[in-house]
């Protein structure tokens, strides 16, 4: 219930901020009766009303959720998972697809409870295999990064 209220409050706040930003949207010249401002403002007003209802009466809309509550070890795990994803995004072009995805897959497999050796094998297979599958067979270009010297 507290989280629901917290979310509704931040949604309301976001609506207000975005509303202020949207207020400044004016077309320098216009052929139309409706500019770029009216529609987002209308949405924001509706959204703010919805958030307000959820803030005042959160009980009306929340049933017992079957999602398990967040515990401390869960939060740590989720944080590690997010960290790995961010690392994947950050290194994707810099290191190149193959090394990045090998490291990422190793981390993820360990996080989800795989043992070291099978995880390492899986990571290698995924990194190299997916590169060839997508870059060579399916023609989705992927960055080679540090391995670009090896390209024939």
């Amino acid at each position: 219930m507290l989280y629901q209220r917290l979310f509704a409050a931040s949604l309301l706040l976001a609506c207000l901020c975005l509303g202020f930003i949207a207020w400044g949207y004016q077309a320098p010249f216009s052929y139309e009766p409706v500019g770029p401002r009216a529609y987002p403002l209308m949405l924001l007003i509706l959204l703010a009303l919805g958030a307000l209802v959820l803030l005042v009466k959160p009980a009306m809309e929340s049933s017992e959720s079957d999602e398990p509550a967040l515990t401390r070890p869960m939060l740590i795990k989720a944080a590690i998972c997010l960290g790995l994803l961010l690392a994947l995004a950050a290194l994707f072009e810099r290191l190149g697809f193959i090394p990045t995805s090998i490291l990422f897959a190793l981390g993820m497999a360990r996080l989800f409870g795989g043992r070291w050796l099978p995880s390492a094998v899986l990571a290698l297979v995924l990194g190299v295999g997916l590169y060839f599958l997508f870059d060579r067979v399916l023609e989705v270009p992927l960055p080679l990064g540090v391995l670009s010297a090896l390209e024939i």
Partner: protein, 502 residues
């Protein structure tokens, strides 16, 4: 007769060797994707869009691929519901009620083949429905102007919230968030940058592949972290693999009724497969009365939701093709794919590109037949896939998702955006907001705004145009009824609770 000749043309397209192979590949991929935890039809379809694009598939082939993946996913989801008692998605929940008890009684093979057969009949009924009704609706929809379209979209959204049952406000909020996200980027009419915060990556808006994969794949990966149970033990599908004639005849009436029901629910915007399977299960249960053994393994209890499920999956193609308004999360993704190909679905699609429309409709027939032929002998292989542990699956899903997102623009900005959206989606799921509503809002966003502004340009800013034609007034009435529905429902449960306690 026109329809029949067009349909023949469609079969020419669908049965060309290339498209046949595509349909075969699509149904296989779809079945596997539907089986795996953490992947549903929405991610399955979204992941294949960049691939279809990169392979340079012509639009009708790409559409056939996506449609067959969609149908395959609906098929695959059923295997994990019956053997594991784990519904892969919301629409499969009803399947577990009677499917899993049957598997525990050692009738797993019969249950799987009955459900495959039911899906086939459902798909067939709905595809016939699509063939008959889609051209009629398209002909009628040609006369729609921007004001009518805008009202239709308002109706679709209100429908979604009104039908959502216990949380209409959360659904509405989710749709509105989706509509807001669609506003990000350069405004097509005036060239003003909206909500980009000076970022170049956001200038042409949030790519819908990024949004879909963030919302559904990344958040699902975070969800899977919590479900620690690994290597689930599947009930062995043993004994007779095929149902016999008597069992087939026993469920035939159920099949036919649920197929029609599912089709109708599929056509209605926002109702979709979840509602269709639930309603058909309940009505069959009521029809069977005390003689039925619903809940401990009645074949009809399995046949009803399965038929309705796949009938609504096919039926939801109607609003997508004729009006350009998706009825479910998955058709929303397909609509997004079409716009990537610069094809605007709508009534004119039937006139300008009949190959695409009728090729798709014919390929629905073909995919349904492939699925039933493939599924019955392949069930053993598919059940083995169920025992793949999460630690191998999740890294693969995550990397393929990243490839899919990277392939759109080849920028890492999109990867970061996907992670941010994924985190947001995870929070929304934790708080019980329906993500498919958000997706529908996002897809409808552009169309809704441009139609509203076009309508108001026509009337020179007079809001009266939204009430000016009989169609818009009719839609207003429907919107009002849909808004009133949750209130009425709440009032009724309150009153019956009061009566029960008195």
């Amino acid at each position: 007769m026109d329809t029949l000749s067009y349909l023949g043309q469609g079969f020419d397209v669908a049965l060309s060797p290339n498209n046949l192979v595509t349909a075969l590949a699509g149904t296989t991929i779809g079945t596997i994707v539907g089986l795996l935890p953490g992947l549903g039809p929405i991610n399955g379809v979204a992941l294949l869009i960049p691939v279809a694009f990169a392979l340079g598939l012509p639009p009708e082939t790409a559409l056939i691929l996506l449609a067959s993946v969609y149908l395959g996913c609906e098929y695959g989801g059923r295997i994990s519901s019956i053997l594991l008692n784990i519904p892969g998605e919301a629409s499969a929940v009803m399947t577990t009620l009677d499917g899993h008890p049957l598997a525990k009684q050692g009738k797993g093979g019969i249950a799987l083949s009955i459900s495959a057969w039911s899906s086939f009949i459902g798909g067939l009924i709905a595809t016939i429905g699509v063939t008959i009704f889609a051209p009629l609706l398209a002909k009628w929809a040609v006369s729609f102007g921007p004001a009518e379209y805008f009202m239709l979209m308002v109706f679709a959204i209100v429908c979604l919230a009104g039908m959502a049952g216990d949380k209409p406000i959360k659904t509405a909020v989710a749709v509105l968030i989706g509509l807001m996200l669609a506003c990000v980027g350069i405004d097509a009419n005036s060239g003003v940058y909206r909500f980009t915060f000076g970022s170049l990556g956001l200038a042409d808006g949030i790519q819908f592949v990024v949004l879909v994969l963030g919302l559904f794949s990344v958040s699902e990966i975070l969800m899977l972290l919590e479900r620690t149970h690994q290597g689930q033990v599947a009930v062995k599908a043993s004994g007779r693999m095929l149902f016999n004639l008597k069992e087939g005849a026993f469920v035939l009436a159920t099949n036919l009724r649920s197929g029609v029901l599912g089709f109708i629910f599929g056509v209605l915007p926002g109702a979709g497969a979840t509602l269709a399977s639930a309603v058909s299960y309940m009505s069959e249960k009521r029809l069977a009365g005390h003689k039925g053994r619903f809940g401990d393994g009645d074949l009809r209890g399995l046949a009803a939701p399965e038929t309705a499920n796949s009938a609504s999956a096919c039926g939801s193609m109607i609003p997508m093709l004729t009006l350009g308004i998706p009825g479910s999360g998955t058709t929303a993704v397909m609509l997004g794919a079409l716009t990537l190909y610069n094809i605007t679905p709508g009534p004119l699609l039937f006139q300008h590109q009949p190959d695409i429309v009728w090729g798709l409709i014919a390929s629905l027939f073909v995919a349904n037949i492939i699925l039933i032929v493939m599924n019955i002998p392949m069930i053993k292989v598919f059940t083995r896939i169920l025992s793949v542990p999460n630690w191998t699956l999740v890294p693969a899903i995550a990397i393929i998702t990243s490839i899919g997102v990277y392939a759109v623009h080849a920028t890492t900005f999109d990867l970061f955006l996907m992670i941010a959206i994924g985190l947001f989606g995870y929070l929304l799921r934790k708080l019980d907001f329906p993500l498919s509503a958000l997706l529908l809002g996002f897809i409808l966003g552009h169309m809704m705004e441009s139609n509203l502004r076009r309508a108001l340009s026509i009337s020179n800013g007079d809001l009266g145009i939204l009430f000016s034609s009989p169609i818009t007034i009719g839609l207003w009435v429907l919107v009002a009824a849909m808004v009133a529905l949750p209130f009425w429902r709440r009032y009724r449960t309150k009153r019956s609770a009061a009566l029960a306690s008195a």
